[in-house]
C-alpha cells in the first residue's frame, strides 16, 4: 500500500502492479473513522483513496494498483477532474478478461448505491458483480497530476478469525463471498495478465481519442 502512495506521488509513466498481503491487513478508506482495538489479528493501514474497509490476505484476496500520469489520459482541461475515464479503463480491462474466462457479470455501473463500513458489503458504480457477489472493488485517489486506481479481487470469504474481529471493529456484519461464492476460481496470474493486456489496449484508445 505504501508503494501505491509512492507511485501516486512520483510515477512518470503508467504503472500497474499486482500484490498480495502477508500477514493479513485491514485497509481503511482515507477518511473512514474507526476506533482501533487492541490485539487485532491483522494490521490496519490507511489507503490514499476513499471508500470503506477491505480485508486483505494472500489466502483469500489480492490487490492491484494502476497509476496514470495525466498525460496518459490526454491533455484536455477536463482531465484534472475526470474520475470516470480512469475507472472505466481499469473496470473495462477486468470485465473483458473476466468475461473471456466465462464470468457473466451482473453489469458494470448498475450500482444500487448500497453502502457499508465494509467495502465488499456495499456496491458502488464501478464495482464488478457476478451472481450478486461483488468480486472486484475499485477506488481512486488523485493528485499532483496523477490518478491512482487501485482495488481488490475477493477470491473467497476471509477466515472467520479475521471477519469476526473486523465486525467488532467496524460494528457491522461481514458480507462477501467473492469469486468462490459465485462459483468461480481462477489463477491470479492468468487473470492479471489478461487485465494488463486489455489495459494497454484501452490506454492506446484513450490517448487516440
Amino acid at each position: 500500500m505504501a508503494l501505491d502512495v509512492g507511485l501516486l506521488q512520483t510515477a512518470e509513466e503508467v504503472f500497474a502492479r499486482r500484490y498480495s498481503w502477508t500477514p493479513p491487513a485491514l485497509s481503511l478508506g482515507k477518511f473512514q473513522r474507526v476506533q482501533l482495538l487492541p490485539q487485532l489479528p491483522f494490521d490496519v493501514v490507511r489507503r490514499p483513496s476513499g471508500g470503506r474497509a477491505v480485508l486483505h490476505g494472500d489466502d483469500f484476496e489480492w490487490s492491484f494498483a494502476v497509476v496514470l500520469p495525466a498525460a496518459a489520459l490526454g491533455d484536455h482541461p477536463g482531465v484534472a477532474v475526470d474520475v470516470t475515464t480512469p475507472y472505466g479503463l481499469v473496470a473495462d480491462a477486468f470485465s473483458a478478461t473476466l468475461e473471456e474466462f466465462g464470468v457473466i457479470l451482473d453489469g458494470i455501473g448498475e450500482a444500487a448505491g448500497r453502502r457499508s463500513a465494509f467495502c465488499f458489503a456495499g456496491v458502488m458504480r464501478h464495482d464488478l458483480i457476478t451472481r450478486g457477489e461483488k468480486i472486484v472493488a475499485l477506488a481512486q485517489a488523485r493528485g499532483q497530476g496523477r490518478v491512482l486506481v487501485h482495488g481488490s479481487v475477493l477470491e473467497r470469504r476471509p477466515p472467520r478469525e479475521l471477519t469476526e474481529a473486523a465486525e467488532v471493529l467496524l460494528g457491522e456484519p461481514w458480507a462477501g463471498e467473492g469469486l468462490a461464492g459465485a462459483g468461480y476460481s481462477f489463477v491470479r496470474e492468468s487473470l492479471w495478465a489478461g487485465v494488463l493486456e486489455r489495459l494497454e489496449t484501452g490506454l492506446k484508445a484513450a490517448r487516440a481519442s
Binding site: 478508506g29 482515507k30 477518511f31 490514499p48 483513496s49 476513499g50 484536455h76 482541461p77 477536463g78 484534472a80 477532474v81 475526470d82 474520475v83 470516470t84 475507472y87 448505491g113 458502488m124 458504480r125 464501478h126 477506488a139 481512486q140 485517489a141 488523485r142 493528485g143 499532483q144
Partner: protein, 130 residues
C-alpha cells in the same frame, strides 16, 4: 446543483477552482464542472486557520463517492477562515458550490496573483478545449 453555471463576478483557475476577491482576501471553492465530475462529495479535508497555502499547490482533499481528489489553491497566503459547515453537510459542495459550498478564505500575499486567472468566459472556453 442542477444547472451548469459560471458566475461572472468570480475568477477561475485551471484546476477548476473559483475565486471571489474581497479586498486583500480571496474566498475559494470548486466550480460546477468540478463538483459535477467528482460526484457526491462525502467529506472535505481542509487546512486549519493560520495555515499557509501556496499558489498552484494542493491545500485540501475532497472525498466523493468516486474518488479522493486534491483541491488546489490559485493563490499563496494565509488561511483566515474555513467552511466548517462542510463537516456535517459536505453535500453543500454539490448543491451550492458558489455559495454555501465555499471552502476556505485566504489573506493573499499579493493581490496581483489574481491577474493570471480566467474570467467566466475564458474559463468556459477553457472547458471546451479538445
Amino acid at each position: 446543483m442542477s444547472e451548469e453555471t459560471y458566475p461572472h463576478d468570480l475568477t477561475y483557475f485551471k484546476e477548476h477552482d473559483w475565486v471571489r476577491v474581497e479586498g486583500p482576501e480571496a474566498v475559494l471553492g470548486i466550480t460546477w464542472f468540478a463538483q459535477d465530475a467528482l460526484g457526491e462529495v462525502v467529506y472535505a479535508e481542509l487546512p486549519g486557520v493560520g495555515d499557509r497555502v501556496t499558489g498552484g499547490q494542493p491545500f485540501g482533499e475532497l472525498e466523493s463517492v468516486k474518488s479522493v481528489s486534491s483541491v488546489y489553491s490559485p493563490v499563496s497566503g494565509q488561511v483566515v477562515d474555513t467552511n466548517e459547515s462542510l463537516l456535517d453537510e459536505p453535500q453543500r459542495l454539490n448543491e451550492d458550490c458558489y455559495g454555501e459550498g465555499w471552502l476556505i478564505r485566504v489573506r493573499m500575499e499579493d493581490v496581483a496573483q489574481i491577474d493570471g486567472l480566467m474570467d467566466a468566459d475564458a474559463y468556459q472556453a477553457f472547458l471546451e478545449q479538445d
